[in-house]
Subunit: 437 residues, 2 copies
Amino acid sequence: MVFKIALLGLGTVGTGTAKILLDTAGRNPLLQGIEIAKVGVRSLDKPREVQLPLELMTTDLEEIVTNPEIDIVVELLGGLEPARSLMLKAIAQGKHIVTANKAVISRYGDEIFAAAEEAGVYVMLEAAVGGGIPVIQPLKQALGVNRIHSITGIVNGTTNYILTRMQREGGEFADILADAQRLGYAEADPTADVDGLDAADKIAILASIAFAGRIKLSDVHCEGIRQVSAADIVYAEKLGFVIKLLAVAKRDPMATGDNPKSETIQLRVHPTLVAKTHPLASINDVYNGIVVEGEPIGQVIFSGPGAGSGPTASAVVSDILNIAAVLKTDLEAKQLHPLLSCAHQHYCNVAPISDLVTRFYARFLSQDHPGVIGHLGTSFGKHHVSLESVVQIGFQGNLAEIVVVTHDVREGNFREALDEIRTLEAVDSIPSILRVL
Amino acid sequence: MVFKIALLGLGTVGTGTAKILLDTAGRNPLLQGIEIAKVGVRSLDKPREVQLPLELMTTDLEEIVTNPEIDIVVELLGGLEPARSLMLKAIAQGKHIVTANKAVISRYGDEIFAAAEEAGVYVMLEAAVGGGIPVIQPLKQALGVNRIHSITGIVNGTTNYILTRMQREGGEFADILADAQRLGYAEADPTADVDGLDAADKIAILASIAFAGRIKLSDVHCEGIRQVSAADIVYAEKLGFVIKLLAVAKRDPMATGDNPKSETIQLRVHPTLVAKTHPLASINDVYNGIVVEGEPIGQVIFSGPGAGSGPTASAVVSDILNIAAVLKTDLEAKQLHPLLSCAHQHYCNVAPISDLVTRFYARFLSQDHPGVIGHLGTSFGKHHVSLESVVQIGFQGNLAEIVVVTHDVREGNFREALDEIRTLEAVDSIPSILRVL
């Protein structure tokens, strides 16, 4: 039995996908029954790294998703449109979907999975999170029997590369971003990466699987790394931390596990002080790492290349393989494989960020008055913010630089204390506010 | 549809398995369709941590594996017999198997999988390697499209616990083993763990999946950690290494990938110097970590709890879930799901350890003669062993202690050089010979 697939897009990941499928020796033998039948591209003239017969190539993407010969559409266009519409059309035609498109899935997942459920087709997305690292399949299958408590991940390679270089070289964000752009590690428009939007897409997807509910992307609290300065990295280092952009999905510890619909979860992306001894502290450069905690598993960690042609293609092709394997078992199956399909109905309740309880790191610039630390302490105390340490680190010009680390506090209380502190005459500014894992 | 399972054994893992299946809220809803119908135990009187209706319990294990009501037999007895015979009987009766029994699978896997193939049933073994860490399923599925180059793992928690404590406390193996036995981290008879036999079982299983061939357990070169001394740990530390018991399965770099049956693989378990910067160097205590390298994935790392009731039960129940999911999709399927079944026919060619090319660390005790280092150098040179460093570290009594680190050498050449060195009058003994990753 031969399964015919169509690739939408022949960029980095599309090329990697084609390479695997055209060179199957030494890989899973099922791949020999998978044939690239169509490749949709924007331009037929562009030189390609991979040799495909010209008659497979077309710029008519609509034709591909309605072509009755195609069993599986592999969407690797990226971006919202036409990717979303093409996926929906393919689904309506009874085709299975494999996609690496976290932006579409995190925004239109409800629409797409509802359509897939109705059409009786699979929508697979291992490549959307963590590049080649197996994380979606393990969450659905090997870890599926656990009550997941939290997922904490470094899921964006570009920001991890920038933060790692800032850590190693002591450089400022803007300079290293510019260099990363020059080297191809960051896009010309770096917004999606450095402002945390890409990580937000990914944690929304992981949370939806882990907590078996739909997620509104707007519920993810999202801060990027533009505010992280070389000074913060130095101070964090002295305190025993590195700074990482973490994406966190966490079941509210106050909620009971009995009715998942009544509980709330936290969903957030922000630069975070991570203790050097934590497993995520050593995930450097473009690598990704994802920590899953649950009951009874405890803590498991997945790490590896979070992007790139080969690794992401590995995830794409493994999804194709999974669909092919299920179809091969029985093409006339009465229902979808329940671990590979997705039929969430309810939306998860996401707690507002002000309800978060966490430790904070904050850096203040103030006049060099003897009473400033006292004033800070008084304001924090009034708002029930308990401090672990207050240290005057040095000077910037004629301003004193003070670093505060709190114990666990409710974020709302901490923000109220900061609002009051900003009104103090001696306080010039608060250049950094970071959470501590 | 309700699937009836029988547990063979209600020890640590059996208890954890029952706990998950009896408390399904907040877990994958498919679990609600899985019923514990029988539990086979040695003694009905033993107090149990988990409450099961008395009428489910029986000491008649034979009855269980032939009972027509049972769909899936979950073998958690451990040991070779009666586990093997019971599994074979259950298979002959058309029952699916879930097992955590690495000893049986690594020795009788060919017999068991051949029987399962004939009977059209699944034999699932996620729990046999890495406790709760998903590694078997990812190798079969998410990583299945890769050409796997190597698997390098810390897969035995007891030895990792002992080595970690030796590293932290500077203690000797025998003392820390005794303490680990007292604390329940090592068995009264520690042979299977400390001599590397358990790790050998596990790497044989992983290699069989990664390289899609059968493995003869006797082909695994196996050294345990009894020879590792506090002195070695101190010297390794000075050189930038920690000592870990690694299990390695590696495709011979000289072989071509075109015909997997013609290539050779390395299969070995031995204490190894691991650079402190390597991801496995920070896997400590009873934790396990497994590095998978392949093309095009690059390197992915899985780590987490390698043993324990809850984590191992997580793996067991995920296998039950996987079988139930496939059966639910279509009970009348004409063939087994190809990614969950196993039909290897050929045996992998395993290279003799003398063909291994690796770096070595060796510690010599010699008379304190001025020419000893020169003699060592001459003998090594004669056998084409190129040295990276030779350092006289200190004295033990009136004997000088010399540590040698080689460049990559063929193991056979290195051993010949050592044979010659042992005949040198000035050389007293060679207390440690360790490989370097």
